[in-house]
Symmetry: C4
């Protein structure tokens, strides 16, 4: 159900920052999906097919990250030095984490086992990358919020921006918690550092529900305020 008062897009055309970022995202997507060797025999082809679920998951994660980028620039169209720097860091982290991502999810689906010590390090690498990316988004959306007067954000748009800040900050917290658990849990419980990411769903749902209720209350108030007495 679309919002009664949707977020207005401030971007009129694709900026060079967006186009440049898309090249990097597109390359990252491609590196996720394709292996570097064209299968030459039937068994290599079948093996490549077994990579499907890991590929699909990595692809979905990258597109999730891309979508937050897409939304940010469509909505706010900010191109100051601050966002340029944050965006550069974001591209760096995205590119740097492509191969670890592929390694980790490829390992899960291949039932590749790791000792507890290795698992701690792997959870740390994944958690740091995850937290870094969403920390950068938290900073970007918080930056937009600070400039809301300049961007002419209305009350609902400020509310939506705040919702994004809360959601991304929660992702940062979950990534950080996973790293902490990876180093404090006993070896037999180490898997919990991974299962904690399943908290994302309920957490996003809760934030979406609470902030969504408030939004609808604000919309209702706006409608009644602008209606004839």
């Amino acid at each position: 159900m679309p919002d009664a008062f949707p977020f207005r897009y401030r971007a009129r055309e694709v900026s060079r920052i967006e186009a440049f970022s898309d090249i990097v995202f597109g390359f990252a997507l491609t590196l996720i999906v394709v292996s570097l060797e064209v299968p030459k025999t039937y068994s290599e082809l079948i093996e490549a097919m077994y990579g499907f679920p890991a590929f699909a998951l990595c692809f979905a994660i990258l597109l999730w990250i891309w979508h937050a980028h897409y939304t940010f620039y469509r909505r706010y169209a900010i191109h100051d030095e601050f966002t340029l720097v944050i965006n550069s860091l974001l591209l760096f982290v995205v590119l740097f984490y492509v191969y670890p991502l592929k390694f980790i999810f490829g390992g899960i689906f291949a039932n590749r086992g790791h000792g507890a010590g290795n698992a701690r390090v792997i959870f740390t690498i994944y958690g740091l990358g995850f937290a870094a990316i969403f920390l950068l988004y938290t900073l970007l959306y918080h930056h937009a919020l600070k400039r809301s007067a300049e961007l002419d954000l209305n009350l609902l748009e400020r509310h939506d921006t705040r919702t994004h800040v809360y959601m991304f900050a929660t992702d940062v917290a979950i990534g950080t918690l996973s790293v902490i658990l990876a180093w404090t849990l006993p070896a037999r419980l180490i898997g919990l550092a991974g299962f904690i990411y399943f908290l994302i769903g309920p957490a996003m749902g809760t934030i979406g529900w609470v902030m969504g209720s408030r939004r609808r209350a604000m919309e209702a108030k706006m409608v009644s305020d602008t209606s004839p007495a």
Copy 2:
């Protein structure tokens, strides 16, 4: 012969979705055409040249898929969440199927033989990818049809959109039929699961002929309706 009343393009400029998709399509094309090793000796060069027909065919298939994408966004310029999700799935399937495509057509031209069991699996992989891509296009064009009022499609434009839905749905049916044949035919007839794709030509021709006749009838009626009495 161009149409008397052509389909009006609703897109004014290249959207970020189109640009992003093109990066992925461009990568896929490139991966199809180039091998990963620069030939270092004369015989390697000659071997690379023998890849020409397989490369050309894969290239043509990918450009066919790209063209449906190009037409969709030029004509309808829809950028809602539904098309975003379908488009993401499309990019995933395209990237995922690049190497199998190259493998399969490379095999045909190299007269590489497969046992009947392997052939069944290869036809299944190809058929599923083929059907998936055109199912996604069927959904996209059907979505445009449902939103025809909002998009201000005139009668002819609705007709053209319906033509595309029929054509893509037929492609889905052919891909699915190939998979079914691959598992039901006896080993010595297994090749029919491949030859069935030659039905695409006549099928598209028939749909194009029937729907084209109707279009011309509609155009004639429009001209007579708007002519002075």
Copy 3:
């Protein structure tokens, strides 16, 4: 010295066809320049450096081809089915010829010798690719010329378009001649099939000089025609 009456650009913004083609050209450029292995030792680094002249030449050739593409779409901004098909063929040939190009020029600078039989084949591969690319450009520019009324080309613009057709057709002739020489010359003169490409400079210079003189005459006439009596 810029023209008194320059060619007017009909393109207002970068079309999706141009953007898509640039991705393919950009990929081709990158494949030309980078090798697939990051040098790991000092001697590998030095070896990579010796690739400089071959890289520079291939890069220049690709950029020359790109520039003809750039000029075509900037000037005429034609996006009909014909140019779409020709452009697709062009991208295919460009991608397909990247590695042979790199192989051939890499061989020249490395003083890699070929027997006369191999040389015939190599000249044929290069000549066919060269002639194909410029044949496609000849067709594109000729197509623009045929549509000059529709595109509202003035007399000078038609003249400039004709100049391009002559130049590209000459490139086709030189490439074809090289292939013919490669198969008719005796082994000891086989190198002439390569040296013939040095004709490009004088040929382009002559066409440029003749057509440039005519253009200036046309400009002078236009100035005198529009001057007060």
Copy 4:
């Protein structure tokens, strides 16, 4: 602190030259960051992680170069033949130096030792690439300065352009000096040819400080000139 009278952007939309350059820059960035092999074992993953500082530094250098490109085309939007040629050379140097850059910084962080003779050559390669890139930028910005009347640059914008010319010329000087030192210093002091790049910080700071003071004086004068008496 933003300038009271900022540089006005002359570019309205992303030109094809910028889009094409971004594809090449995006490839270069990606080649810097990713290795060509997805890590397959835990120890390969850890080894890839140790590449982090070298990757980060190369990434930062490339983005610094990209940013000068971005600023140039946003500000001046010049697309004449001269800038086209310089830009082509720039893309060539950027692509050609990606792997040496990765090699050199990878070596530093891996504490890979080189004999003095090899070090001289490595400093030469890096210095020539560094000087070439900034020489091309010096030429580009100097070209904009020469065309300041045509571009309608105001006094402050001419001043800012001059600041860029000074800064880039200083980078050229530092790169050249490093090459000279690499061939004149005794073996035990050869490292100085590398440390000289730390001069960039103070040099840029000094130019920025001097030119910034002058700019503020010019701004103050403009404000007082335009204020009511």
